[in-house]
């Protein structure tokens, strides 16, 4: 029976965190693709027709959203182990923020499941005409978007301690830390704008999120400066 007598190497943590984090990029783009190809803004009937015609795609979009959240949990745990030596409290904050966003984003998928219930509801929802049911579909799709905005607050917030830890680490390029913090601001602006100024389309996150691609790429390709990591790990514990 083997027991762990040595820590997992920081390089292993870095590569695992980076690899898992990178899987989120295609999953995230897939979700965007599904909604952009199926939803016809302002046209409930066309949207309903698209969703019914490509129902498997729509369902895969829902499952992708759930998968992203599960993967996030493992990503943040690996990042916690990697970045904890820099500042344990900040590392903990990073974990707390993303864990709070996880159930919000998962439950938000109920809004998309509701769309399917409505579109298949001709017998169970017989009190409504098909037109009425289709007219409610955009309401749930819009609610789903707003749910993403709420979850997005946490997707932004967790990047701040992450960026801070990268900046202070000395074993990762500081520019990545800056990019992550920019990503944080981008998500927060987009989420708050969606709630405060719904008529004003703010799509800043598509420009600011690149730190979330470059950071895991660096982790996978270049790992961390192990010497510097060990310095932090062996230093006396400070907050």
């Amino acid at each position: 029976m083997t027991t762990h007598t040595t820590e997992t190497s920081p390089l292993v943590n870095a590569r695992v965190a980076g690899a898992l984090y990178l899987t989120l990029v295609p999953l995230g783009f897939f979700m965007l693709y599904v909604s952009s190809s199926l939803v016809v803004p302002g046209n409930a009937a066309a949207t309903a027709a698209h969703i019914l015609a490509s129902e498997s795609l729509f369902r895969l979009g829902i499952v992708s959203a759930l998968l992203i959240q599960i993967v996030n949990i493992f990503v943040v745990l690996a990042l916690y182990r990697l970045l904890k030596p820099v500042n344990q409290n900040m590392a903990l904050l990073m974990v707390i923020f993303i864990l709070l966003g996880t159930p919000i984003a998962m439950l938000n998928e109920l809004n998309q499941l509701a769309v399917l219930l409505l579109l298949h509801g001709t017998d169970t929802l017989a009190g409504f005409t098909t037109d009425q049911l289709q007219a409610i579909v955009p309401l749930f799709l819009d609610l789903h978007q707003l749910g993403i905005s709420i979850a997005g607050i946490f997707w932004g917030l967790w990047l701040f301690p992450m960026g801070y830890l990268v900046l202070k680490s000395g074993f990762l390029p500081r520019i990545l830390g800056v990019l992550l913090i920019i990503g944080c601001v981008g998500y927060l602006i987009e989420s708050l704008a969606a709630i405060l100024f719904p008529n004003f389309e703010v799509n800043i996150a598509l420009f600011t999120f690149w730190g979330e691609v470059l950071f895991p790429l660096w982790l996978v390709i270049r790992g961390v400066n192990v010497e510097q990591w060990k310095e932090h790990a062996l230093a006396p514990r400070s907050t």
Partner: protein, 114 residues
Amino acid sequence: MEQPQALAFMFLKLHAQGYTISMVLFGVYNLLVGYLIFRLNFMLRTLGVLLAISGLCYLVNCFATFIAPAFASHLSPWILIPGISELLVAVWLVAFGVNVQRWREQAAAGEALP
């Protein structure tokens, strides 16, 4: 069916879907705990295997429910039967506890971990 009743029925079905969403997390949890029970070897390892299998079954059930509900209705309730392992783990813990010496060994080794 009246409209309010139809809506009420829809929300009841949505609630059931919500439960299925939460089961995704629970399935991952069962997988992890089952792995730990097997790996750490201070209680009956077979229970760990069974628990991990039940976790996988929950995950298959959940994703099937979301992707192909017609197929998923064939899986249920059979695919949830391995969930009995959760009860077995609880009973084992109460009746037999754990191998304290092995537990202490793992704990001591775990101290070295960050």
